[in-house]
């Protein structure tokens, strides 16, 4: 063969490779399936969603804060958080209500009481939990509900860039501010917190995670050297607080005592028994760094094991922690959202699954987001697992989008200038190029990944999730007591969206509402292991869920546990492991039923 022919063949090879890359781009492009009619979506995917906030009487629009003028040139980046939403039945009327956070100075939070007829009414002002953004006290970033005094009513903790606040629920009739008595830290710049009974003493403790350094008053800065020192290994964020509930309405700071010293920029925290010890471990999703896993040693000490279990070796921009027994094998996967922007930064979101055969101190995780197609979001924030079509498989709802502005230009070029630079450059906001009204990963769509038993498919548009607001928090709850999970989404500088779900009626479900006696009354930390059979899996299957004191990014799902069961389901048993350590067996519980279970006294 002559050299010329060989060259031609080699040239054809190179052309094929280049063509192959171009083809892969289109082959792997996410489907742009248009919004389907409800009936068609129901037939194809078993459910559909319809946004109905206004129709339900919810007209909330989030406001962002305006911080120190020294940060004016990059204010959209600094003031990019605060949209937050929680679901709670604050008055125990059996209807789930919505608490939504506002962040503008002087703006009001809203407590939307579920009227039971498909509408909501804002009662925050009359209940005394609206006006929490008064100048000089900072602004709200999120909240978590938990019955810290075990009186049967969910109390409210609000974390802020500023003074955190604790409100006692007065039997659903109003709230009393008990911050000063409780002994909370005077000022934090936190974006996440969670109620957790870390020592299983029956009293809910509080874990509060700082983002900015707590010494900063973002309205009165001495200088602009406040930013992260690295985009991957930053340790100059806010400190963490583990506040032990003494049981008398006061809290003791035991953070150092139990061995938690992290100063990473935490954006989300989750608590679940990952190591299988019966005690809740803590998972911290950190911005500008690796995530951290604090293994709970019998409620006495926490040991950071992230660095040994592979989670702590890949720094990204963690913004969410959600737990889900995706493979239905009695182990939680952990979904951590990150940043992906084509051509600029492709971190990909993580789904950390326990490596089979590992547990306890030797627990190992492996990221399976790519394998399951849960990787590509955008500038991703809050996410929640939930079975939206009740087919027995956990689906995943993910919010995306950072800063949507009017300018056709985006800020990625300027962002890239400093992103890889030395810490001296990055850490000073003065060195950051001005935004000049540019967007940064704005106008992004949400993802709604439908679980196809081994692979996830984004059906967001098809089932009716079409908004492109800058999503932040998302919470799942059965607002109509219909046996389906509705979706409520808080958008930064955008409206609160309420997506009502219609699921295929032939798919069945079961819910559990737990109440502790010896355990904390909210039953936070209780685990339900459900075994059932259905048409698709007549051989049977198992799924675990835990009652949580805060889920995802700045959000909280309904306290109840919701299991989709699929068609022709029959539940063999449900085993409740209460935080007190007690196990309770429920044989053959009825399907399509909300079971209200109180922890046995004996």
């Amino acid at each position: 063969m002559s050299r010329t022919i060989k060259q031609i063949i080699a040239t054809a090879l190179l052309a094929s490779l280049l063509g192959g890359v171009a083809a892969m781009r289109y082959w792997q492009k996410p489907s742009a399936e248009s919004s389907l009619e409800g009936k068609e979506a129901l037939e194809r995917y078993g459910f559909y969603l319809r946004e109905s906030a206004r129709a339900a009487g919810i007209d909330f629009v989030h406001q962002a804060p305006t911080l120190d003028a020294k940060l004016e040139h990059i204010m959209p980046i600094i003031a990019s958080m605060g949209a937050s939403v929680q679901v709670v039945d604050f008055d125990r009327d059996g209807l789930l209500d919505i608490y939504v956070i506002n962040s503008g100075e002087g703006s009001k939070n809203c407590l939307y009481k579920n009227m039971g007829n498909g509408t909501f009414r804002d009662v925050a002002q009359e209940m005394g939990v609206a006006d929490l953004n008064q100048p000089g006290t900072g602004v709200c970033m999120g909240a978590v509900w938990g019955d810290f005094d075990n009186d049967g009513y969910e109390d409210l903790f609000v974390y802020k860039w500023g003074k955190p606040e604790l409100y006692h629920n007065d039997k659903g009739k109003g709230f009393t501010r008990v911050t000063d008595k409780a002994g909370l830290p005077p000022w934090v710049n936190a974006n996440s917190a969670i109620w957790v009974d870390y020592n299983r003493d029956g009293h809910l403790d509080l874990f509060l995670a700082g983002y900015w350094d707590e010494k900063l008053d973002l309205w009165h800065l001495n200088d602009t050297k406040i930013m992260c020192e690295s985009f991957e290994y930053a340790k100059n964020g806010g400190r963490k607080y583990l506040l032990r509930n003494r049981g008398d309405g006061t809290f003791e700071d035991v953070t150092e005592q139990v061995g938690i010293t992290s100063r990473r920029w935490t954006l989300a925290v989750g608590a679940a028994d990952l190591c299988g010890t019966g005690y809740p471990d803590l998972f911290l999703a950190n911005d500008y760094a690796v995530s951290e896993v604090f293994a709970n040693h019998a409620g006495k000490r926490f040991v950071e094991i992230g660095r040994n279990c592979d989670i702590g070796t890949h720094p990204k921009s963690g913004m969410n922690v959600s737990f889900g027994d995706v493979f239905k094998r009695g182990q939680f996967g952990v979904y951590v959202s990150n940043i992906s922007e084509p051509g600029n930064l492709v971190q990909g979101n993580n789904l950390w699954m326990p490596k089979p055969g590992t547990s306890g101190e030797s627990l190992q995780f492996v990221n399976q987001a790519g394998v399951l197609d849960l990787e590509r979001g955008g500038w991703s924030w809050g996410a929640q697992f939930g079975d939206l079509n009740n087919d027995g498989l956990l689906d995943l709802f993910l919010t995306n989008g950072y800063i949507s502005a009017d300018s056709p230009e985006n800020y990625w070029y300027e962002y890239s200038l400093i992103a890889g630079a030395h810490k001296i450059v990055i850490s000073d906001a003065q060195n950051w190029p001005p935004m000049k009204g540019r967007s940064l990963s704005g106008n992004q769509s949400k993802r709604l990944w439908l679980n196809r038993d081994g692979r996830f498919v984004d059906v967001a548009r098809a089932v009716g999730v079409t908004d492109q607001y800058d999503g932040r928090a998302v919470a799942l709850a059965d607002f109509g007591n219909r046996g389906v999970l509705d979706v409520v989404v808080a958008n930064q500088k955008g409206p609160l969206l309420l997506y009502r779900t219609t699921a295929a009626p032939e798919n069945q479900w079961v819910q559990f509402e737990l109440e502790g006696t010896k355990s904390n009354r909210s039953a936070i930390g209780a685990r339900v292991t459900l075994n059932w059979k259905n048409e698709a899996r007549p051989e049977g299957q198992e799924q675990i869920q835990e009652v949580s004191g805060g889920n995802g990014y700045a959000s909280q799902n309904m306290r109840r546990l919701h299991f989709g069961l699929g068609k022709n389901a029959r539940i063999d048993k449900a085993v409740i492991r209460w935080p007190s350590g007690r196990d309770q067996l429920l044989s053959d519980p009825a399907i399509n039923t909300l079971h209200k279970i109180q922890e046995p006294i004996q």
Partner: protein, 402 residues
């Protein structure tokens, strides 16, 4: 003029000795990975005893350094006598330390692998796959086009470069980038010279054609000064030996005033415009990409001119297009154009062509120097991304290539 390159005399070693070395290496690696937690714990204890503090990275760096020293000791006779191994070893060390300190070798999960190994191995490194891809295609194309096996150091380093410079949660971009990089070396050439730096071509192609799945290295190495010092130390050593240190220095000398100019035009803080100089990727670029001997011009003055032109083009792309990947694109444009101009200017006339025929290059032992129309009295190993390592140990013979 052309001179015959000095052949490299490799030490004779019996198959038994070679087999023993492989066996020892395999055993060492098996022990290292089997007892990795214990080894790092040991170094952590030592670090704590000596420094009195705790460090996450130092024990890992110490462990990988000791492993590297032991492996080099096992293969020392071969390494000492063949300089073509030096560059791959140094680049491998940069990669290993980078991974130990900053986890730059991001693993991908593989259920298939997990199933195959019964859960023992659940993930793999795409960088290693990229290295395998570049080596495989280099062997195939060299055999197919030139009829002989190539020295694998060049393909190995291209694979490492792809692993470092490409970021993607998918595997295929790593493979395709490696394949495209090597294939471009065989296809995009004039005479005996390829026009583009292979890694530059591969990375640029991937960013252009598959931006949704690929990002270039932008934020890594902890935003610390140490990686920069390491790259500067190793890079300066290599380029000083090659007599090419002037190339990054000229680029820097141009970049600084151009950054200040951009600052005045865009209103961006001057520190922000100068900030790229502190990127680890920037250091890799100025030391190991724009200096690549097979794809740079031959005269010192023209190398300086081209470095300056790349800097000017880079600024133009930033100003005109707010181009995030201006460094790659500038070299992608200026590199081949300058090569073509030089080829055209130095094209031999008919009288010269009809003169005495020159001896062919010692391509078998010096694979990349054979691509040049002129060569040096010493061997040169091309680093498609990582520039080139000449016989830089103890001599500067590579400074003037013609």
């Amino acid at each position: 003029m052309t001179a015959k390159a000095a052949p490299v005399s490799l030490p004779k070693a019996s198959p038994v000795v070679i087999a023993l070395r492989f066996l020892s290496s395999a055993l060492l690696l098996a022990l290292y990975f089997s007892f990795y937690p214990q080894i790092t714990d040991l170094f952590a204890s030592l670090f704590q005893a000596v420094a009195g503090g705790e460090s996450l990275a130092a024990p890992k760096v110490a462990a990988v350094t000791v492993l590297g020293i032991l492996l080099v000791a096992i293969w020392w006779k071969l390494i000492r006598s063949d300089v073509r191994f030096h560059a791959p070893i140094l680049i491998t060390y940069i990669l290993a330390v980078g991974d130990a300190m900053y986890g730059i070798l991001e693993n991908h999960a593989s259920p298939w692998l997990s199933q195959l190994t019964h859960g023992q191995v659940t993930s793999y490194s795409p960088t290693f796959v990229a290295i395998l891809a570049t080596i495989a295609i280099d062997m195939v194309l060299a055999r197919f086009i030139r009829g002989k096996w190539p020295h694998l150091s060049s393909a190995y380093i291209t694979g490492i470069s792809v692993g470092i410079l490409i970021k993607s949660p998918e595997l295929w971009p790593f493979i395709m980038c490696g394949l495209i990089s090597i294939a471009s070396k065989y296809v995009l050439r004039v005479g005996n010279r390829h026009l583009w730096n292979p890694s530059n071509f591969g990375v640029t192609a991937m960013l252009l054609l598959a931006g949704e799945y690929v990002a270039s290295l932008s934020v890594q190495a902890g935003n610390e000064v140490w990686p920069i010092i390491v790259i500067w130390a190793i890079g300066s050593l290599i380029l000083y030996g090659l007599g090419r240190l002037h190339i990054p220095l000229v680029f820097l000398a141009c970049f600084v005033p151009l950054a200040l100019l951009r600052s005045s035009l865009t209103g961006n803080p001057w520190r922000a415009e100068l900030a790229p100089m502190t990127w680890p990727m920037f250091q890799l670029y100025i030391f190991f990409m724009i200096t690549d001997p097979p794809t740079t011009t031959k005269k010192r003055w023209s190398q300086c001119l081209v470095a300056a032109l790349v800097a000017v083009m880079e600024t133009f792309l930033r100003l005109a297009f707010r181009d995030v990947h201006s460094l790659y694109h500038a070299l992608f444009i200026v590199g081949p154009v300058s090569n073509l101009v030089e080829i055209w200017l130095t094209k031999p006339n008919k009288a010269e062509l009809s003169g005495p025929r020159l001896e062919p290059l010692a391509a078998a032992t010096v694979p990349h120097s054979s691509n040049r129309d002129v060569t040096t009295p010493h061997e040169v190993v091309s680093l498609p991304n990582a520039g080139a390592v000449s016989s830089w140990v103890g001599q500067r013979g590579g400074r003037e290539l013609s």
